[in-house]
Amino acid sequence: MNKVIDNTEYILRMENITKIYGNGFMANKNVNLRVKKGEIHALIGENGAGKSTLMKVLFGQEQPEEGKIFYKGEEIKITNPLVALAHGIGMVHQHFMLVPSLTVAENMVLGIEPKNKGFFNYQEAVRLTEEVSKKYNLPIDPRAKVKDLPVGYKQRVEILKILLRGVEVLILDEPTAVLTPQETEELFVQLRELKKQGYTIIFISHKLNEIKALCDNLTVLRNGRVTGTAKVADLTEQDISRLMVGRDVMLTIDKEEAKPKKTVLKVRNLTYKNSDNKAIVNNVSFSIREGEILGIAGVEGNGQREISSLITGLIENQSGEIKLFDEDITNISIRKIREKGVAHISEDRMTYGTVADASVEENIISDRYYKDDYNKYGLLDKKKIAELSNELIKEYRVKCDSKDAEIRTLSGGNIQKVVAAREFTSNPKLIIANQPTRGIDVGASEFIRKKLVSLRDEGAAILLISADLTEVITVSDSLLVMSEGKIVAYFEDTKNLTEETVGEYMLGIKKQTAEEIGGVCYE
């Protein structure tokens, strides 16, 4: 402890950062972060641990209540992202900040456009793009439209964009969340190359294997506080996970072999075209039986959302069959679909799953408020509804002040538990769970996964859509892989299936025959 810290070796120091949001949430408390020049520093923690907040403070998107930031030994005040960029600190957000309809070169120079007699000089933009691209050995076509690029390349544009602005410190916020395992490997090669050239990288993640593979040092956050700072090489994955969660994490899930019975859902030749006449869902067919979890793996945006919206009636069916117990459920109202026993966890819990400004109770009753059980003398039966909400809050371990607390005062994990409490207790025969654990803490994720398995054991048919390969492989009994609106692979049994194998199908490196894929269709 008496070792004097030599502050000069750190290019960046954040000291005692405390950030409290307007809803009273303390996202960071006395957080210290020290980053050496030329290292890849991992910032790690569960979702909601305060990683993104800390980086928003560093990038000037949020102002801390307390704390100081030192850059190259001098204290600096970062009031907005332009100041951060001027100092040489740049950030690549998890959700890309690119204009899809513009070309790569146009996106690259957005805000710092080269001009010729007051007009935008496109040729110069292209030249600049080629120059940085060559300098950092990150090849890209400057004239390609961003919307036509694969995800990995979009990310490359983001990285080049901040390099063009002359940054020395790059913040990458969960850059691998949208990538396949193979694309991730490629990104790592690029990042190591940048490190070699003297750049400093702050790498945000919650995936332990990635940290082990890539980073030099790490800082672990939990509940907004630092729980550890160390050399990555000194720690095992178990050590890191203990720092993250505060206990040993179970990555596997206890479940017995599935005992599928009657077919519940039959989907045949489902096709959905968007307004550009592009097939988002392309001739998809599958079946699910009682007591079975069918997973759909795939990078987000490959038609999974449309499939769940089509089955649950949120969007109108264009062509193909959706049958629940041999009964056509296309083009009937959402209420009727729900009354037939379909439950739906939407991937967007703030838009579809909940009302932020309504109470926990009001969110719990939204699918059943109209039923006679909950009405008396023409008014809602307050007592019955209160009983239901208190019971579900307890059973689903929703952490909230009371049933009257507004949803927006809850954490992401607890909001998702409210959604689950509603959807899982409507006596569902078919559950469409779309990204049920995205962006929520490990505890809540574990809880929801276990619930899914126990509902399966009680005889529900479950469609689990997830971009989290570990989740979708461990929880599902059998698995589909989707890419660009099509089913590209079917694995009848998920045992012994690895993420790498799934990744190869996602990228189209390996292919299955139509017959193999057809195995998922049965009467």
Binding site: I20, G22, N23, G24, F25, M26, K29, E65, T312, L314, S333, I334, R335, I337, R338, E339, H344, S346, T351, Y352, G353, T354, V355, A356, D357, A358, E362, I365, S366, D367, Y369, Y370, Y374, N375, G378, L379, L380, K382, C400, D401, A405, E406, T409
Partner: protein, 364 residues
């Protein structure tokens, strides 16, 4: 977190109190510039309305129509549809009532009921039109509903001035309402009429309908998040349309009750503004009918105060418009006092954390 909720609730009240205080301060400032005897003028403005039974009666009279339009607006706006047609519904509802009250002969118990129902139905149609245009053609309700008001005005004037006009009246007005249709007065010496009781009944109905019934629940959920309502299985378009019809119906019977309670012939030649006042009161009441009587009373009070002031001193009645405008601007501005609230929340959060830590240390 409990503390935070408490602070947020406090600030809902603080914001309205501050808005009123600032508005009154500005009013006083202007009065002291304009008036030769500012103290006397202010006395008349603030205390004047309570100095006689007659004036208190005035407050109640002014307040009565506002109860209807405000409850109607609460219901319409809870679905997050900015429908300004309450004004037209109030006006044309009054015309419809006048028509029934002038043209038909009925027994005294039935006549007012039928007349008022006619007003309500016309009001529902008026407020339903912008909603249908929105649902069918995606027309912006703010614009279409404002335009509808002018259609109502000139259609109403046409009926009054050409169909039921009394040439003997000496001014542009309808025939006298049948005696059987008039609503009785409640207290002598004032014009307070049965409409007040009907209005309060509407407030009670509005509260139970909007805040306690399943219909109200679905209206509020649609207003807060339409996607969620749809996902949960609610029939969004049907509910959206029906709550506009109900709101319009209530605004319409407001117009009807006002005619039958306060006048003996229809004599408006322009829009009276009670529908727009209803919007303002609904905002002050945060779309909860429970608070409508208080908010309407306040508005009626400053109106009567300004009136007393204008009659007894040298300051014109228009000062009220300034007060209203200032209150609404501050109440409607979400971020007013936000910095103060934020600092309070930050402090409360820090205290909570510090306490929690002290406890941990104590236990250890």
């Amino acid at each position: 977190m409990n503390k935070v909720m408490k602070i947020e609730n406090q600030f809902k009240v603080i914001r309205i109190a501050f808005s009123i205080a600032i508005a009154l301060a500005i009013a006083f400032l202007i009065i002291s510039f304009v008036s030769d005897d500012p103290l006397y003028t202010m006395y008349n403005f603030i205390i004047g309305p309570f100095t006689s039974i007659n004036r208190i009666g005035n407050i109640i009279e002014v307040m009565t129509p506002l109860l209807f339009t405000a409850v109607g607006v609460c219901i319409m706006y809870s679905a997050n549809m900015i429908n300004m047609a309450s004004e037209g519904a109030f006006f044309l509802g009054g015309v419809a009532t006048a028509y029934v009250a002038v043209t038909y002969t009925m027994p005294s118990g039935i006549h007012p009921i039928i007349s008022i129902l006619a007003g309500g139905i016309v009001g529902a149609i008026v407020c339903g039109i912008p909603a249908i245009m929105h649902i069918k053609f995606n027309a912006l309700p703010v614009v279409s509903s404002l335009m509808i008001n002018y259609v109502c005005l000139y259609l109403g004037l046409f009926i009054v001035n050409y169909v039921i006009r009394d040439p003997q009246a000496g001014y542009m007005a309808s025939y006298k309402f049948a005696k059987t249709a008039i609503l009785p007065e409640l207290f002598s010496k004032t014009n307070v009429h049965l409409g007040l009781i009907i209005g309060l009944a509407v407030v009670v109905f509005g509260y139970y309908f909007l805040m306690r019934s399943k219909w109200g629940y679905s209206i509020r959920m649609i207003g807060k998040n339409t996607s969620f309502a749809k996902y949960s299985g609610m029939n969004v378009t049907a509910i959206l349309l029906s709550c506009q019809l109900i709101g319009g119906f209530i605004a319409g019977i407001g117009g009807a009750v006002e005619q039958l309670g306060m006048y003996n012939r229809f004599q408006y030649q322009k829009l009276p503004g009670h529908g727009f006042d209803g919007v303002m009161i609904a905002i002050l009441a945060r779309y909860n009918p429970k608070f409508v009587p208080l908010a309407s009373f306040f508005l009626a009070y400053i109106r009567v105060g300004a009136d007393v002031m204008a009659r007894t001193s040298d300051v014109p009645v228009e000062i009220v418009s300034i007060i209203q405008a200032v209150i609404i601007i501050f109440v409607a501005s979400e971020r007013f006092l936000e910095g103060w609230k934020y600092r309070r929340i930050v402090k409360a959060t820090k205290d909570t954390h510090a306490e929690a830590e002290k406890q941990v240390v104590g236990e250890a």
